[in-house]
Symmetry: C2
Subunit: 340 residues, 2 copies
C-alpha cells in the first residue's frame, strides 16, 4: 500500500541509494548493466518519484513570464486577471507567474526583450506575439540558453510545442455552422470584420469560416474581410461602404478578439432584416451583447484554462514530463444566452 521509495528501489535492485540516485537523475558513470537493474526494479515496484519530496529537496521554483501585447483589449484583461489568480493558486507549488507587456506589432522589441531573459531569473516564457522571423529566432536562442518557451494563444510555428490555444480553423468553422443554421433568409451576404487580417489567427478563422459556409450554406456569401485597425471611424466607414455595395446583408462575423467597436457601429446601422451576429471571446461586452440579443453566439476559449494550461505545460517542460493531453486541449466553446 505504501508507496515504494528510493530505499526500496535500492534494496530490490541490489544497489546503493547513491546509485539509484545516479540512475534516476540521469548522471553518468553508471554501467549499463546497473542501469538496467534499477530500471527493472522501478518497473517491478511501480516506483514513482515523490514530487513533494523532490521539489522540497531541490528548493525548486518555477519562474514564468507571460509576454503579452500592450493592448487594453477586454479579452487580454481577462487573461491578466487569470494570471494573477493562478499566481495565488500555484504559489503553493512554487510557481511564480509574472507579466511583461511589449508592443505586439514590434518584432524587434519582442526579440530584444526575449534576449534579455536568462536562467538567472526565469525558467519559462509564454509568448503571445504574432509570428515573425525575428521572434522565432529569439525563441530559438531562448531555448538554447535553457529556458522553456511556449507559444500562447497567438499561433507561433514552433516545431514541437504546439500553441496553447484553440484550433482557430475549427473555431471559424464552428462560427460558420452556427451562422448558417441561425440565418433564415434564402440568400444574403455575411460581413466578416477583423481588427487586422495580418495575424495567423484571423487568417485561420476566416479560412475555416469560408470552408463551411461554401460547403454547407452555398446560398450565403461571405464578403471580403473588413479591417478596422481598432478605429471606430474607420470601422464605420468600411462597414457602410460594404453595406452600400451589398443590399442583402444577413449576418456579421466578428473574428477578432475585440468586438466592442464593430458591435457599436452595427447597432447604429439599419438592415433589411435583423442580422445574425457571431463574435469571439467571452468579455463583459460580448456577454452583455448575448443577453441583450445584439449577439447570437460567441465562440470562445476559457481564459482561465488557457493560463493554467500554459503554466502546467511550462512546468512539465521544465521537469521533462509529459502533460495530460486531454487536460491541455483547449476547447472551442460556444456561448449562447442560455449557457453563460
Amino acid at each position: 500500500m505504501a508507496r515504494p521509495t528510493t530505499k526500496d528501489l535500492a534494496r530490490v535492485a541490489g544497489v546503493s541509494r547513491a546509485t539509484v540516485d545516479r540512475v534516476l537523475n540521469g548522471r553518468d558513470g553508471v554501467k549499463k548493466n546497473t542501469v538496467d537493474k534499477v530500471n527493472a526494479a522501478i518497473r517491478q515496484l511501480g516506483f514513482e518519484r515523490n514530487l513533494s519530496a523532490a521539489n522540497l529537496a531541490k528548493g525548486r521554483t518555477y519562474r514564468f513570464v507571460f509576454v503579452l501585447p500592450e493592448s487594453g483589449d477586454q479579452f487580454l484583461e481577462e487573461i491578466l486577471r487569470h494570471i494573477r489568480e493562478a499566481g495565488n493558486v500555484f504559489a503553493a507549488e512554487m510557481v511564480w507567474a509574472s507579466v511583461q507587456h511589449v508592443d505586439g506589432n514590434d518584432p524587434h522589441a519582442i526579440s530584444t526583450f526575449l534576449s534579455s531573459l536568462s536562467r538567472q531569473d526565469t525558467d519559462g516564457v509564454a509568448i503571445m506575439a504574432p509570428e515573425s522571423p525575428q521572434v522565432r529566432d529569439a525563441i530559438t536562442r531562448l531555448q538554447d540558453r535553457g529556458l522553456r518557451a511556449l507559444p500562447f494563444i497567438s499561433n507561433q510555428a514552433l516545431s514541437e510545442n504546439h500553441c496553447v490555444g484553440i484550433d482557430n480553423r475549427s473555431a471559424g468553422r464552428t462560427a460558420a455552422t452556427l451562422m448558417g443554421r441561425f440565418i433564415r433568409a434564402q440568400k444574403g451576404q455575411i460581413l466578416v470584420i477583423a481588427e487586422s487580417m495580418r495575424s495567423r489567427d484571423s487568417i485561420e478563422r476566416r479560412y475555416g469560416f469560408d470552408e463551411v459556409i461554401n460547403a454547407r450554406f452555398p446560398h450565403l456569401t461571405p464578403l471580403p474581410s473588413l479591417e478596422t485597425y481598432g478605429s471606430a471611424a474607420r470601422t464605420r466607414q468600411v462597414l457602410q461602404a460594404a453595406v452600400a455595395r451589398n443590399p442583402d446583408v444577413v449576418g456579421a462575423y466578428i473574428l477578432s478578439s475585440e468586438a466592442r467597436i464593430p458591435l457599436d457601429v452595427l447597432e447604429d446601422m439599419t438592415f433589411s432584416e435583423r442580422l445574425v451576429s457571431v463574435a469571439h471571446e467571452r468579455t463583459p461586452c460580448t456577454e452583455a451583447s448575448l443577453l441583450s440579443g445584439r449577439l447570437d453566439a460567441v465562440i470562445t476559449q476559457d481564459p482561465g484554462h488557457l493560463v493554467r494550461s500554459a503554466i502546467r505545460r511550462l512546468r512539465a517542460l521544465c521537469d521533462n514530463r509529459n502533460t495530460l493531453n486531454s487536460q491541455e486541449k483547449i476547447r472551442v466553446e460556444i456561448l449562447l444566452p442560455t449557457n453563460l
Copy 2:
C-alpha cells in the same frame, strides 16, 4: 524573493517555532494575544505554507472512492477512463482514486456501501447516485465519521457542497435554444426522450428546455417526455405512438446520457421533414452521429474535467482549503460537427 518559512514567522512574531506550529495547525493552549501576534506576522510576511513540505512531513495521502452506478453506459465508460487516467497524474501528489460500482436504483445498497467506509481506508467519496432520503442520511453519517463527501454529476441536495457537474437547467435551456434556432419549420412538435424522468437531472433539463421553447419559440410544441427505460422495444413502441399522434414532429431532444437506442430507433422511422436532433454527453456514439448528420448538436460536460474537479475539490475539503471557483465551474459545452 525567497518564500518566508515558519522560522521567519517565529522570528518576526517573537515566538518559538513550536508556538507558530500550534497556531498554524489550530492546536489549543495558546493565548489569544499570541495567536494574534503570529497571525500578524503571517500577514506581514505574506507567509504561505509550503504544501510540498507539509505533505511530506505528514506522509499525507488522499484515498478517494468514486461511487458509480453499474451501467454499461458510454458516458460512464468515459468517466471511468478519466478516473484511471487521473489516477496516474495525481499519483505524484499522493492521491489514490478507486471506483466502486453499486446499483444506482437501490438506495439501500448505496447506503450500505457508504456505511462500510471508514477513515481507516478512505478520505473522501464522490457519489453519483439519485437522491433519496436513505442516501442522504448515509452521506451525513459519512461526514460525521470525518470522511468528505461530494455529489458527483447526479444532483444530491447536500447543503454546502454543491454538485460537481453542470447546471442541468441551463443545459436544457441551451438545447432548446439550438433546437429552436435550427428548426426552420413554421410549426411542429418536438419529441422529448428520456431513459427515465425520475432523476433530478432529467427533470431539470426538461424544465429548462420547456422554459426556453415556450418563451422564445412558441410555434414549437414540446411533447410529453417519453421514457425508454433503456429498452429498445419499448423505445420503438412509445416513439411510434407519439409520432402517430403528432403529424408534424420536427425535432427530437434526447435528454438522458445514453443516446444510442433512441437514435437507432429514430433512424428507422420516417418523418415529413428531416428532424433536428439534440442529445447529451460526448460519447463515441454521439460523436459519430454528429459527424454523420444524425445529430445536429450535443450538449455535454467534459468528463475529464468532472473527474479532476471532483478530485481537486475532495482534496480541498480534506485540507480545509478553498478551491478556485472559476476552475471548478463545469461548463455547458456545445458540440457541433465542426468543433469536435
